[in-house]
Symmetry: D2
Subunit: 326 residues, 4 copies
């Protein structure tokens, strides 16, 4: 199957991924991880929840932590371009038979909640409280010096369906892996904001959230984080890396928060704003697509992910992902 064409004139205009909400089992432990260790800036907190932003973001939050019983990803948030896009989005999702509801979210204008065909909870809004710039308040930088949220990566039980759904609303595939035998997509990276991805899909029991990524200035910040985590009690939270991805060409590190939610620290992918940018195809058997330098990922990285609130994942229609024994 050829890679589906992106919809160059989509029914409404999504600017970028915006934020994620995690249910966490110990808010204080999560705060120590995200604020004190990673270096995200707290913009609001009370007994039940914490909102944070990264250093170059002026929107109020890119991550919301809520105290709960069971760790979950509650929803993935996206920013729309203008007020009219909200109505157009509502119409679009309704016409596809998806549930749409208007929800109230603190620090955001009215918010549309829906889900993708496999059940991933998606929320769309136009305006979020705007905060003063802090990207030149260098005394605040710490940890890995996170600059901005970069992307989501999800397990999908049917990547062809996921890509078709997101293509239709304007996400363009930048790189992908195809299962040669079935001709089906194994994994795909799709973007709105001009990087390699705002959201990616990998074949597997899903929907589940594989990871949420933050952009940092240089690979040396990632090395700094490794040194910090490995000497402050977070050694076992380091899961994979550092390394260079073949796909995206980014320098990466994967870590796990205290509940196991996976975070990628990421830098140096490439600009993708050209609408005629050709997607790059990778062979499922090429180990360099995962790590350009050849080191395999651990089994946990292939198998584990966060459940979405109230969504039961289902098995993939394709065979289990071939794990290269490390």
């Amino acid at each position: 199957m050829p890679i589906p064409s992106p919809n160059l004139y989509p029914p409404f205009n999504i600017v970028r991924l915006s934020h994620v909400e995690f249910i966490v089992s110990d808010l204080a432990a999560s705060r120590a991880f995200y604020a004190d260790t990673l270096g995200l800036q707290v913009t609001h907190e009370d007994n039940d929840e914490i909102y944070m932003r990264a250093m170059e973001e002026r929107g109020h939050h890119c991550i919301i932590l809520k105290q709960g019983d069971e760790p979950r990803a509650d929803h993935l948030g996206f920013k729309l371009y203008g007020e009219r896009d909200l109505e157009l989005a509502e119409n679009h999702f309704s016409s596809r038979g998806l549930p749409v509801t208007w929800v109230e979210r603190p620090f955001q204008s009215r918010t549309l909640r829906t889900c993708d065909p496999h059940g991933i909870p998606l929320e769309f809004y136009v305006q979020m409280d705007r905060l003063p710039p802090i990207h030149q308040k260098y005394a605040l930088y710490k940890g890995v010096k996170p600059l901005r949220i970069d992307h989501f990566n999800t397990f999908s039980p049917n990547v062809d369906e996921s890509v078709a759904f997101f293509n239709e609303i304007g996400f363009r595939v930048t790189e992908y892996t195809e299962d040669e035998e079935s001709g089906k997509l194994w994994a795909a990276w799709t973007h709105r904001k001009g990087g390699v991805h705002d959201i990616a899909f990998t074949n597997g029991r899903g929907p589940r959230l594989h990871h949420t990524a933050f952009w940092v200035p240089t690979p040396l910040n990632i090395i700094d984080l490794l040194d910090l985590m490995s000497t402050t009690g977070y050694l076992s939270n380091i899961e994979r890396g550092p390394g260079r991805h073949g796909i995206s060409n980014a320098f990466f590190l994967y870590i796990r928060d205290p509940d196991g939610h996976r975070i990628e620290i990421y830098c140096s992918d490439y600009q993708t704003v050209d609408p005629d940018l050709e997607p790059i195809k990778w062979d499922l058997k090429d180990p360099q697509r995962q790590t350009l330098w050849g080191a395999p990922a651990p089994r946990s990285w292939f198998e584990e992910g966060s459940l979405f609130t109230g969504v039961e994942p289902v098995a993939s229609t394709l065979a289990a992902q071939p794990i290269i024994a490390p």
Copy 2:
């Protein structure tokens, strides 16, 4: 005067700046500078001209060098989103009384040539020959490891007029300096592709091209270039830097090519895709807007620029820029 509102729904869709064409007096000397020293990749060359691209670009060229008698910037190139944008652009510029002509350019689809109100030659096209990716052919990286063209910066005799013109076609101001006394804009940075700028304007005798910038991975690549240039006969081509700009927050270096065309090596500005991103205002008297660390720029940097082919610059309507004696 308040900063003009960007046109959120512009009459046609410009994706990004694309390329610049320089007239150079010694093609071999320019090749040594751009290809051998900076590390741009030659994609076509003959006796009269050289086309080059940077490492993550798949379009055929971001810079064209043509042998000529007098050094000039011939035109600034921009990529449009879709075929229909070409007609819309033609209509728009015609309706503003600007000259529009269709020109043939090698390696590009049909190209619309016009100019801005002060005479800067602008060219718009939709498709350029696409080349295979080379961003993972690491044996090709050399010099400063240029990844992509990033922006143009121009002298404008009337920055308010320049910004009004570019605002109308969808460029949004990200940062600016106002002349407190007159209430007029002194300088402004405007973008399409999601960085701090695709094109900027500074008060001065114009139009002239102040510089063309290339994006590189990290500040260490800029340090490498300084070491290389200062020990291979290019010491006097180093004009200003390295340093951190207050405006844009980028790490920078300014160098001059053998004809004096100014090139900025640039990295680490910030993402600006939010349509409601508030422009940052700087005080004209604040030296940190130019260099966050306080070091002044040399006089040449304030005064010199490339003439555009066939365009006679005129004096600015504002007083001469206050040069901080270094």
Copy 3:
């Protein structure tokens, strides 16, 4: 057993490790690896051998490659302080019953050849041909930008004996691992020149050469080398890393040359010139001593090493090294 005291007033003065000679099976393939890929500078070559130095070295060579039938490490070279140290060295080794011979080596003054108690061939000289500085000829830098040879690491069948021998001639232990049960040394790092080591010893079938290390400016140079090797046919030559050692605190990468000789690329250990610097003791069961960030080394790294010319290794007196399954 307590860590043996270094001899603060040794019988002769060794300045530093100096060079290694490798027998290689395909001189052209080795040249492509060491000169074209790593970036060492060829200082002499003919049909049978190649001499190379690193960028900040003014001695003629830090590595000698000789064409041969079977890959071997021929000897480890050390520089003595003054002419009188040659005689003192001869006396010392003779008095210990070790074989001493005077050999002629190109580009070196007269050279004393002996061996350590397990048979490692050692060569000592005072003067080597001096070459003009090239550390500011930045056009010559390439590959990983190797600055200097840093250290040797060897398998020893009896680390206590190795350390006693090298302690006596002035090498000081900076870090070590003890086998808690037997009270014997498992591994030790010993230095002369003020870094963590000039030569280190690890328990194992020996003597064999585990690796030879080169110092580079920053971790980013190591990342550059990984990108280069993994896209120019050297993917399978990458063995371990990048990572941070617990022991030495250095940032490292291990690669294998075309014959399997192991090279470490190394930077950022610490200064050890104080004669009262306390050795740091590591627990053999602490995986962070090998990789601060926790990733295990592959089996090959524990088991494989270069044979020395004409020396048959013997089994260690301690149990096999516990390999942490990766």
Copy 4:
């Protein structure tokens, strides 16, 4: 005049420079500068004085700040190799007619105080309190991440005399500038510990302390410090840089503490342990000796320095240093 020969077998053994004591006019302000901004670690403090060390040092202090009325450099400290070197040092300085006294210094074994021929107060000791390693306590790293004290640089009224004095006690010249007309030394860099210098001398009214330098991991740490200082009220404390020295090849930044004592942040010079390392000669007229990349130093950098306690500087015997107008 030829560069004086180093004394390869000096009368006593100096290991390295060790520490500096500054008299400061506002202890709290100095603490904010050195501890909170630069990131040195406080090892002892009371109302009158603060002792600090850098991250990889295990000796108790590399810098002592004492509250006083007038800013001064009180003395330069050096570590000797063994107990017998103390007596040998006393004999040597006495035989040269220099004043020697035994002083008690907290956290140090008995200490010999003397001065060089121009009056620079020098203190020598063998043992200092040893502290546990903190180089792998990455949570403590902040500011510029200073790793160790690297060198002193002084104004000398007669550089030939300074070099002769320090040559005799084993310091070797690594680089120097000669005044072509007079044949006299203009400046010289001399070392003990294997880097480009432990102490350097520049022609000028002296003796005065030009600067004290700290070693940091990479140029990026220096960029981080510039960002931090320029946005936390220390903009005017940035004096010169960042840049690459021609002499030493180091990447540098010069800053001034609240009393004007000059600190250099320094990295990436080269190893100099070979006793036959040829000194590199620079032409006084070559601006690249100061900054490889060509940018001139400000006038203050040429003219200002710290007075030593109780020592009145005298004019140099050579003409004033030619300042290259920036």
